[in-house]
Amino acid sequence: MEQIGAAALPVIVGVILLFGFFKDVDVFDAFVSGAKDGIKTTIGLLPTLIGLIVAVNMVKASGLLEALCALCGPLVQGLGVSPEVLPLALLRPVSGSGSSAYTLSLLEQFGPDSETGKIASVLASSTETTFYAVTVYFGAVGCKKLRYTLPAALAGDCMAVVLSVVTVKFFAQI
């Protein structure tokens, strides 16, 4: 299965190239003109990224996350879930690299095939870094108003937290 995943990228690039080539597209010229757009987009994105990553780093370094977890911990334990999963649920929408590192530490601590390890695996790969996606996508086109984006996106994230626990517990029984 790992090989399939690794092969996906070259195969897609190959299909795009072959298709363009046989449709008489000047493929290199097209590539260069597309790549040129990439420079403008990335440079335009830099201020947004700096603002976002600085804020996320500060939240991580200040111990704000631990404080939040200490507040919500008893609630989670009452539901029969290991409290170590909670920081992951809070970290996942905010920081991609941070939540990967935390997932890895959970897998090492509890074992990847334990219930906690499974919940962490499912939760980490069932949602995206919501705040990163929202800030970057709207930052790139200069939208300041988000309207109802965050409620909808966070509803999905909450559902992922609930379902990761429910599905792992459910599939363990059959």
């Binding site: 597309g34 499912v122 790969s125 919501t130 086109v141 939208c143 309207r147 984006t149």
Partner: protein, 198 residues
């Protein structure tokens, strides 16, 4: 909204660090964060240019139109405003396929190019309902094969790296459906409010 969240994150961090006595860590986190943002955009610059280059080939060759035609039923239902716009639908399809295949570093450039095309249609800095739904879909993560997670599990000595596949499919699909449903619901409500206000 981002205004308040950003302010809240930084203000609460400063208060929290002061209480915990972690102010020195906080200042180094600030400077490191700014630096790592620049590093990230340099990494991003490469994949952004490469993928937008391949996207241009796919567009000129007509592959994106073909993809858009194939996914038309679902794209038309999700994004009714772009029904006639094959080029834009093609960009949306490219992003959604990259997400589905788990190609995160391709999905972002393709998604940004779709966002730019949608923003052109929307005009004034207020996101259209299509843009909001598109971003919401991109904050969810439906993947056919979560290869990175499997690799991580394997490196920790899992007996079944892909063993949680059904759980991941069910959870990510449920999260995606919830996000889209809430988005469509709020969209209708805000639509009604607008007409009512007029």
């Amino acid at each position: 909204m981002i205004n308040y969240i950003w302010f809240g994150m930084i203000a609460l961090s400063v208060v929290c660090a002061a209480v915990n006595g972690r102010l020195p860590e906080l200042s180094s986190a600030l400077m490191e964060g700014a630096g790592s943002a620049v590093q990230l955009s340099i990494t991003l610059l490469g994949s952004m240019c490469a993928w937008l280059g391949f996207l241009k080939i796919a567009e000129r060759g007509g592959l994106t139109r073909l993809l858009a035609a194939g996914f038309s039923p679902i794209i038309d239902w999700l994004f009714p405003d772009y029904r006639g716009d094959e080029g834009l639908k093609g960009k949306i399809c490219m992003n959604l396929s990259a997400n589905l295949l788990g190609l995160g570093n391709a999905a972002t450039p393709l998604g940004l190019s779709a966002m730019e095309a949608m923003a052109e249609k929307a005009g004034d800095g207020v996101p259209s309902r299509g843009m909001i739904l598109f971003v919401v879909i991109n904050t969810a993560s439906l993947q056919l094969l979560p290869v990175n997670m499997a690799a991580m599990r394997a490196s920790c000595g899992s007996a079944a790296p892909f063993g949680v596949l059904p759980e991941i499919w069910a959870t990510s699909l449920g999260a995606l459906v919830t996000a889209v449903a809430v988005c469509k619901l709020l969209e209708q409500r805000s639509g009604r409010l607008c007409t009512w206000n007029r």
